[in-house]
Structures are given as structure tokens and as C-alpha cells.
């Protein structure tokens, strides 16, 4: 669930002898925000410390994209993690640094092997225009469609709306779940269900193949799969000092790229 978890992880840097000339109190980089970004941020922080021993101490909390944005705008954390793009109501004075991308997969119950939905079909299904599987070509199931989506405040919902739905509105009779895991569970237990989840949550579900392309790391990396969203690290004003070095390292180094590529889509 979306409980705020301060200190979900504290990466303690090993004390390393630092030459007196550069001696300064070790900086602490604190982060909060998206639960989707958190696992990646933790791995990156560990990798950064391996590359730059003793450069900083990390503290990673969660809470959801909006929490991250609000925290960083108020100066409570150095970096706010967000899995949604900037929006109009965000507080001013913050800078969005893109760090990776993540695939969002359309999934159905494993007993319903739909393979290949066009954007128009996805929009028709999720907006409630098409309400029966018999109206969906390729569906191996008939009967009413149970649409499962995320709550309004979720970053994944925001990305789904932008990437897949465009201006179409998600049906208001859709069940709104509070996390990726709950959506996956709902689809797993209901043969009529369809929903969307982050790539990491697709186990045991049928990939509905958006625009005919399988949803996996390879197609997302190659750009074939289009349902891809951004992960952001948000800073208050331009990133400075150690935070700047950390974000630069994520965006530019090969090591960070390798870490990201274990489950997400690197930027370059």
C-alpha cells in the first residue's frame, strides 16, 4: 500500500579516508516519492556508492509520486521520485530530471489469450464503449469485460491516460485499485478482467500486446513497444552538489545504464 515509509532503506557509505583538502561533512541525499521508482532508486544509490565510495549517504522513502513532488518542493527531501510527468498543478520552482523509462503492459486473465489490441480497441474497452469480450477480436472468452484501473492519484494511471487513452475518458464503472499488485491480483482471479500494470507485475497474466507488440524489456528498449512512461527525479531548483553528480551519473554512466537495464528502460 502507499504508506509513507521513511528510511525504507539507508545505504551507509563506508568511511573512507578523505584528503583533508576536500574534507567536508558527508552529504546526505534524501529521497521520497513514487513506489514504482523506489526499487530502481535503491539499486542506483547502491551502484553510485560502489562507484564513488563515501560520496554520500542515501535515505530513501516512498509515499507515491505526488508525495515526492510535494516533499521536494517544500525542501523536505533532496530528490523527489516521480513516475508521472509534470502537470499544471505542480508547485513552482522544481526541476524534472528524467532518469529512466518503464513499460506499462495491458494484461488480461491467463485464460483469455487476447493478442494484439489496437489503440482504438484499448480506448474502446477502457472507456466502456465495448463492454463484452465477444466484441473484441482474438478474445478467447465471452461475457462482460471487467475493467480494472488505478486510482486517480496514481502515477501509473496518469501515464496510462496520457499514453494509451489520449483524450478518451476511462469508464467510471471501472474498479480502481490502489497498487500494481492489487490490479494484478484482480486480473488473476477474474477471467473477464482487463487492466494495466507496470512491466514488473505481469507474471501470471496474459500480455494483451498493445499494437501487436509484446510488452517486455527488449521491445520497450528497442522502442517497438509504445506504452512506455518516464521515471523522474525532481529537484528543488537545479540539482546541485552531490545530488547533481548523482543524477548526472544515472543519466550518463555505463554502470548506471547497466543497473537500469536489469528491469527498466535506460535513457540512452
Amino acid at each position: 500500500m502507499k504508506h509513507r515509509m521513511p528510511l525504507a532503506l539507508t545505504v551507509m557509505a563506508l568511511a573512507v579516508a578523505i584528503p583533508a583538502s576536500t574534507a567536508s561533512a558527508r552529504t546526505t541525499i534524501s529521497m521520497s516519492g513514487s513506489t514504482s521508482v523506489a526499487p530502481l532508486a535503491a539499486k542506483l544509490a547502491k551502484g553510485y556508492l560502489k562507484a564513488h565510495p563515501g560520496a554520500a549517504t542515501f535515505r530513501l522513502g516512498q509515499g507515491g509520486s505526488d508525495v515526492g513532488v510535494a516533499d521536494v518542493a517544500a525542501g523536505r527531501v533532496t530528490i523527489g521520485n516521480s513516475s508521472r510527468d509534470p502537470k499544471a498543478s505542480d508547485p513552482g520552482g522544481i526541476v524534472w530530471n528524467r532518469i529512466a523509462r518503464d513499460a506499462i503492459c495491458i494484461a488480461t486473465n491467463s485464460g483469455n489469450t487476447v493478442a494484439g489490441l489496437t489503440q482504438a480497441q484499448v480506448q474502446a474497452i477502457f472507456s466502456g464503449q465495448v463492454r463484452d469480450w465477444s466484441q473484441v477480436p482474438g478474445a478467447t472468452k465471452s461475457g462482460p469485460i471487467d475493467v480494472v484501473v488505478r486510482t486517480a492519484a496514481s502515477g501509473t494511471q496518469d501515464a496510462f491516460q496520457k499514453i494509451f487513452m489520449g483524450s478518451a475518458k476511462v469508464s467510471s464503472s471501472a474498479a480502481q485499485k490502489a497498487s500494481n499488485g492489487l490490479v494484478a491480483q484482480a486480473i488473476r482471479s477474474d477471467p473477464n478482467a482487463v487492466g494495466y500494470v507496470s512491466l514488473a507485475f505481469t507474471q501470471g497474466l496474459n500480455d494483451a500486446r498493445y499494437k501487436g507488440v509484446a510488452c517486455n524489456l527488449r521491445t520497450a528498449k528497442s522502442g517497438q513497444y509504445e506504452g512506455v512512461r518516464n521515471f523522474w527525479m525532481v529537484t528543488r531548483g537545479k540539482a546541485q552538489g552531490e545530488a547533481l553528480r548523482f543524477i548526472r551519473w544515472i543519466q550518463r554512466s555505463r554502470a548506471a545504464r547497466a543497473i537500469t537495464a536489469t528491469g527498466w528502460v535506460p535513457l540512452h
Binding site: P91, G143, A175
Partner: protein, 331 residues
């Protein structure tokens, strides 16, 4: 209270000390509660002020309204506040009421059985088990609900035809009123049993013995003497159970259906398998958007309604219990 005549000064002094220490402590609790109520109401005020009484009414789709509020523009003057929370209030009342009524029936008979009829060896097992059940965290019930009951109801109790009959209004997937009520009942019944057992035990033996002596059978004695005398405690048990049911969030967020729909009794049996989402579950589900100011204030408004309802509940129970107390026992 030691009278002034007794010169035993040592216990007297420690009494004083306890009084001095506990008095402020309990006052702190009072201040905390008052502070909490004021804080929540203050936070919630913009939501109530912008909607007036329509806040409690129906109209439009409550999920769409929450989305609009979440997507408010940055300008505080243009914040969106419109919400008609009736489906959520109605769902809360349905689930809570259903669970407490069913739970009370079960709890009353179970307690009577434990106190009056169960063989000693069975009782020795039953009572600790009941008390243990009362302490199980709600998320565990939620897991059982979502992994076992929801799929069962969705795949076996809801026919294709039933699903199709309401497909254009609401999705029937197993997340439903009936599952929510069943799981909630299982959650709150043990507390009620434990409290009612204590109350039945506290009925003076001379009262029941008197009835036995007059030739009444066991059942009659229990029903007419013990249960009647225990009424204030039974009301108390219901209040406690209702309060727990009202505030239950995680479990209901998992099993109740995650959509702000108001189940319609006119739908016949379908009514029981229709999804809905009570207030507390709505707060949990939308907690991610707390930092969006108007949505945060709306969630605080939900919290305020829950808080005020449980306060009213306590007051109401107090009033109901007054006339019962004359012949009642209080454990």
C-alpha cells in the same frame, strides 16, 4: 479512599501520588482527542464549505469528482471541490450495518453457548480462540477475502447472465457487498463475543438461581434474566464493533470493489454482489494524492464524517443505555 481518621500515611501518600500522575495523563488524552477533532475539522472545512449540504447528497459519479479534484489547477482560487459523497456514505452504512447486525446475532448466541451450555473442556478451548481471533490484524482478513472469497464469488456465485444484466451500469467481479459484509462480520464478531461473555458472567448468580428455583428452564433463564441484565454491555459491544467496522480501511479497500457505486436494493439478488467503496477505504485508496491540496481536504472531510459518526455513536449508546442500567450489570 482512606478517611482522614486513619493515620496510615504511607498508602495515603502513594494514593495521592497516583492521583497526581494519572489525573494529568488522562487530561492529556482528552486534550489530544479534542485537538484531533479540531485539526481534522479545520482541514476538512473547505470541502464542506464549497459544497454545503450537497456534500452529503448524491449526483454525478463520485470517482469522476475525485479525479476532477485531483486534477485541480495550481491556482488556489480555481481549486475544484465539487463532491457528492452519498455513494460512499451509503456504502459505509450498508457494510457497517450489515456486519454489526449479522455479527450481533452470531455473537449473542455464541456467547450464551460459551457461558451457559458449552462443556467445560470445549469452553476451555473456545474462549481463548475467540479472544485470539479478536486480535488478528485486519489485513490478514483482507488477504483471505481477496485471495479466496472474491474469486469464489466472482467465478461461482455470479452467473454470466447476471453480469450481463447490469454490464452497462456496473461490473460484477466478485468484489462485492456480500464479501465485504462477510469478512467484516468475521472481523468484529470475536470482540462482541468476548464482551458479551464477560457481561453474562457478571450477572449475579442469585438472579439466575432465583429463576431456576421458580422452575424456569436453562434457556429461559438465560434469555429472560441474563441477556436482559447484560443489555447495557451488549449495546456497548455493538458500539465498539461498529466503531471498528466504520474505521476499517485496508481490508475493505481490498475486497469491496474499489468503485464509488451505490448498490441498488431494487436489483434483487444482484444487490448483494454489487461493488461499492466505503469512506475509510476511499481515504486509503486515494492517500497517494494527499499532497494535492483540495484532494487532501476532501479526504479530511471523509475522515471528519467518520470521526463525528463515531462520536455520535458513543453518545447515542450512552443515551440508550441509561434506562437499561436500572436492572442491568456493567462488567
Amino acid at each position: 479512599m482512606a478517611g482522614p481518621a486513619t493515620p496510615a500515611s504511607a498508602p495515603n501518600r502513594s494514593d495521592k501520588r497516583a492521583e497526581l500522575a494519572l489525573g494529568p495523563l488522562s487530561s492529556v488524552v482528552l486534550v489530544l482527542i479534542a485537538g484531533m477533532v479540531v485539526f481534522v475539522l479545520a482541514k476538512a472545512w473547505p470541502s464542506f464549505a464549497n459544497n454545503g449540504l450537497a456534500w452529503f447528497g448524491g449526483g454525478g459519479n463520485v470517482d469522476d469528482q475525485l479525479l476532477e479534484i485531483f486534477n485541480s489547477p495550481a491556482n488556489p482560487d480555481a481549486y475544484e471541490y465539487t463532491i457528492h459523497a452519498w455513494p460512499l456514505l451509503y456504502a459505509t452504512a450498508l457494510v457497517t450495518g450489515g456486519a454489526v447486525i449479522v455479527g450481533l446475532a452470531f455473537a449473542l448466541f455464541a456467547a450464551i453457548f460459551i457461558v451457559e451450555f458449552a462443556p467445560e473442556r470445549l469452553r476451555a478451548v473456545l474462549e481463548p480462540v475467540v479472544r485470539l481471533l479478536a486480535a488478528v490484524p485486519s489485513v490478514i482478513y483482507g488477504l483471505i477475502g481477496i485471495l479466496v472469497l472474491v474469486p469464489f464469488v466472482g467465478n461461482h456465485l455470479i452467473s454470466q447472465g447476471r453480469k450481463e444484466s447490469v454490464a452497462y451500469v456496473v461490473q460484477l467481479s466478485g468484489n462485492s457487498l456480500i464479501v465485504a459484509v462477510v469478512v467484516l462480520t468475521v472481523m468484529i464478531t470475536p470482540i462482541m463475543i468476548a464482551l458479551i461473555v464477560d457481561a453474562l458472567r457478571a450477572v449475579p448468580g442469585s438472579w439466575t438461581e432465583g429463576a431456576h428455583a421458580l422452575g424456569a428452564n436453562r434457556w429461559r433463564v438465560v434469555w429472560t434474566i441474563a441477556v436482559r441484565a447484560a443489555r447495557p454491555a451488549i449495546v456497548g459491544a455493538c458500539v465498539l464493533a461498529t466503531a471498528r467496522a466504520l474505521g476499517e480501511a485496508i481490508m475493505l479497500s481490498m475486497v469491496s470493489g474499489s468503485v464509488g457505486f451505490a448498490p441498488n436494493p431494487l436489483d434483487g439478488l444482484t444487490f448483494f454482489v454489487e461493488p461499492m467503496r466505503p469512506l475509510a477505504a476511499t481515504i486509503v485508496d486515494n492517500a497517494e494524492g494527499l499532497s494535492v491540496k483540495p484532494l487532501g481536504q476532501t479526504l479530511y472531510a471523509f475522515a471528519a464524517v467518520l470521526l463525528v459518526s463515531s462520536l455520535m455513536l458513543s453518545l447515542g449508546a450512552w443515551a440508550v443505555r441509561q434506562p437499561m442500567k436500572r436492572y442491568g450489570v456493567r462488567p
